[in-house]
């Protein structure tokens, strides 16, 4: 059995607002093995992005981890000093963001932004960093890499910028790569290219990846294992084939049913009724109950625990 690179236990994140604290991640636990790709799936507001920002240690100023344990390579990340954390960030754990349009600094050229990480973590000279930067751009399939180094973000297309982001995130050979909706903001054809690129990277390197997405197509393409999040909790966890073959939680089933299928022509696409509950006003008992087709009075009384029905398949539902 391969070792766990990252282990998150009972992670809780809250935000300070004018009406007091609002908890958006409520006891999330999962682990990522060496070389594994884990997908975190859920709607907007399910807490998947907040979880990733929390483990990078870059929550917004009003957010904080208030409980739980984050262990990366036997280091407890929560007890690290700011300086020690910075040495890991961008170096051992790096991140790709959703919006390539705004994630790069508009007033610095691509070369500067690529070199910066290398000079910071590897103590390279400008020339060395430049060489490595060009190499990284070539790795992610950017033609005329040496010319692109001198360009500014606004001179590149969305797909190109996302490639630059990926090159930047991979430049220090991270052990863990977090990709937060890496294809959401891109055109479909570009999405496919970026997914192919990410799969190639996965095959070539032993980097573990966490892919955060609401797109089950992306999950099927890249993931080894999936956790489904709802309202700040994990509601189902399973290996990729198991999840697509045998989804258990009604929410997961709902997500699967929402994927349009070419063969079954239907008048209306399936959708899960309602929206994710507001963190300041969570239903008691099961949080999915108000939207659940199986829910009954029993579900309002107990908050279901995450139950393992086999070694690697878990669900948070008392009805299935």
């Amino acid at each position: 059995m391969t070792k766990n690179l990252l282990e998150i236990e009972d992670l809780k994140v809250r935000f300070k607002t004018e009406d007091g604290y609002i908890s958006t991640v409520n006891g999330v636990s999962f682990s990522v093995k060496q070389g594994e790709t884990l997908a975190i799936v859920g709607e907007s507001g399910s807490g998947k992005s907040v979880t990733s920002l929390a483990l990078m240690g870059i929550l917004p100023a009003n957010g904080e981890i208030y409980d739980g344990k984050v262990t990366f390579e036997d280091k407890n990340l929560r007890t690290l000093s700011k300086k020690e954390y910075r040495k890991i960030r961008g170096n051992e754990i790096s991140m790709i963001f959703q919006e390539p349009m705004t994630a790069l600094n508009p007033v610095f050229n691509i070369g500067y932004q690529l070199r910066e990480t290398l000079i910071l973590h590897y103590d390279m000279t400008k020339e060395q960093a430049n060489k490595k930067g060009i190499e990284m751009l070539e790795t992610v399939g950017i033609p005329d890499a040496d010319k692109v180094m001198g360009r500014f973000p606004h001179q590149l297309s969305g797909g190109m910028r996302q490639r630059v982001m990926i090159a930047m995130a991979l430049s220090c050979n991270p052990k863990l790569l977090i990709a937060d909706e890496p294809t959401t903001a891109l055109d479909v054809t570009i999405q496919a290219q970026i997914l192919t690129l990410m799969r190639n990277i996965k095959e070539k390197s032993n980097t573990s990846t966490i892919i955060i997405t609401h797109d089950l197509g992306v999950v099927a393409e890249l993931a080894d294992r999936v956790i489904v999040m709802y309202a700040g909790e994990v509601v189902e966890e399973a290996p990729i084939y198991e999840l697509f073959e045998n989804p258990l939680h009604p929410y997961t089933k709902g997500l699967m049913a929402s994927i349009p299928k070419v063969h079954d022509v239907v008048d209306e696409l399936y959708s899960i009724e309602g929206t994710v509950p507001n963190p300041s006003n969570m239903p008691s008992g099961c949080k999915f109950y108000p939207r659940c087709p199986l829910g009954n009075i029993e579900c309002t009384k107990i908050h279901p625990p995450l139950e393992y029905i086999s070694a690697d398949h878990a669900k948070r539902c008392i009805k299935v």
């Binding site: 920002l53 960030r89 961008g90 963001f97 910066e116 982001m165």
Partner: protein, 304 residues
């Protein structure tokens, strides 16, 4: 460079328009001759003076004579000082520029660190103190602040001279008086500009790279936040050159503002026209330099 030349060419019609407006304005404000001669002067005497100064010609003729002289560098003579207007102005210009630059330097030295810190520590006691101080700095009238500074630092503690121009010490109080108001405005602007930038996605990216907070704030954020600040700096510089009459009066600073107002009161046409023309050139130049600085700061701006 091509853009710069083009902009310079574009300013020519602006300058012409300014000469026309000022030319007309000084002529509708009253008859200079009535101020130049004693009250006992006869109508004939007035008329002959008017004739000799060329005021009896039709306005268009007068204007084109004026323009014709202007392009040859002749701004006309001052009625009051009996010397040519341009040399009067050039005599005053160094004092004005000196004060303007010193005020701007003081404003930048105060506002940049305070604005940045205020944004980084937003809603803290420090931030509250600085934003409150900025409101106060903006609200204090210059003449009052100037007099207070004189009372405190010149009269009571005798650190700086009361008035006049000469040494570097003479410059401190007037520059501080003018710089305070500008610093207040720039502090607020830098704060709000920084706050906006610090919330951007690329700041999160910079954090995710493991960069230290100092580099994120001073490099990644500040370079972006500077863009609107440069606009205000350019505007303020042109205001400073255009005349800081009140401060100049309080400190008996021999600048352009003082000369301009005196000349308006005395209907010293040539001086008013020349001074406005020179000020207009400086306003245009400071706007042009702002344009050039933008280009350096923000690669997204392209001129052609």
């Amino acid at each position: 460079m091509k853009y710069f030349l083009k902009s310079l060419l574009k300013t020519i019609p602006v300058l012409f328009l300014i000469t026309l407006i000022v030319f007309l304005l000084v002529r509708v404000t009253g008859d200079p001759v009535s101020l130049m001669l004693p009250e006992t002067a006869t109508a004939e005497e007035r008329d002959s003076l008017r004739e000799s100064l060329g005021f009896n010609e039709p306005l268009p003729v007068q204007y084109f004579t004026y323009l014709g002289n202007l392009v040859q560098g002749d701004f006309g003579d001052s009625f009051r000082y009996n010397t040519d207007a341009l040399s009067l102005i050039l005599e005053r210009l160094p004092a004005t520029l000196e004060l303007a630059i010193a005020s701007m330097v003081i404003a930048v030295i105060i506002s940049v660190p305070l604005g940045i810190l205020s944004a980084v520590k937003r809603n803290s006691f420090f931030d509250l103190f600085i934003t409150g101080g900025a409101v106060l700095g903006k609200a204090m009238p210059n003449f009052w602040l100037g007099i207070m500074l004189i009372l405190l630092l010149s009269v009571t503690f005798q650190v700086f001279p009361v008035s006049g121009r000469g040494t570097l010490w003479h410059l401190v109080l007037p520059a501080l008086t003018l710089g305070t108001g500008i610093a207040a405005e720039m502090t607020r602007l830098i704060r709000s500009s920084m706050l906006e930038i610090l919330g951007q996605d690329f700041i999160r990216t910079a954090r995710s790279k493991g960069l230290g907070e100092a580099i994120i704030v001073n490099k990644h954020a500040f370079r972006n936040a500077l863009i609107p600040v440069v606009t205000i700096m350019a505007l303020q510089t042109s205001t400073l050159i255009g005349g800081t009459l009140i401060t100049e009066t309080v400190f008996a600073w021999p600048g352009l503002g003082q000369l301009l107002v005196q000349s308006v009161n005395l209907r010293d046409m040539a001086v008013v026209q020349a001074a406005t023309f020179i000020i207009a050139i400086f306003v245009i130049l400071s706007n042009l330099s702002a344009d050039l600085i933008y280009r350096f700061l923000d690669p997204r701006i392209k001129y052609d």
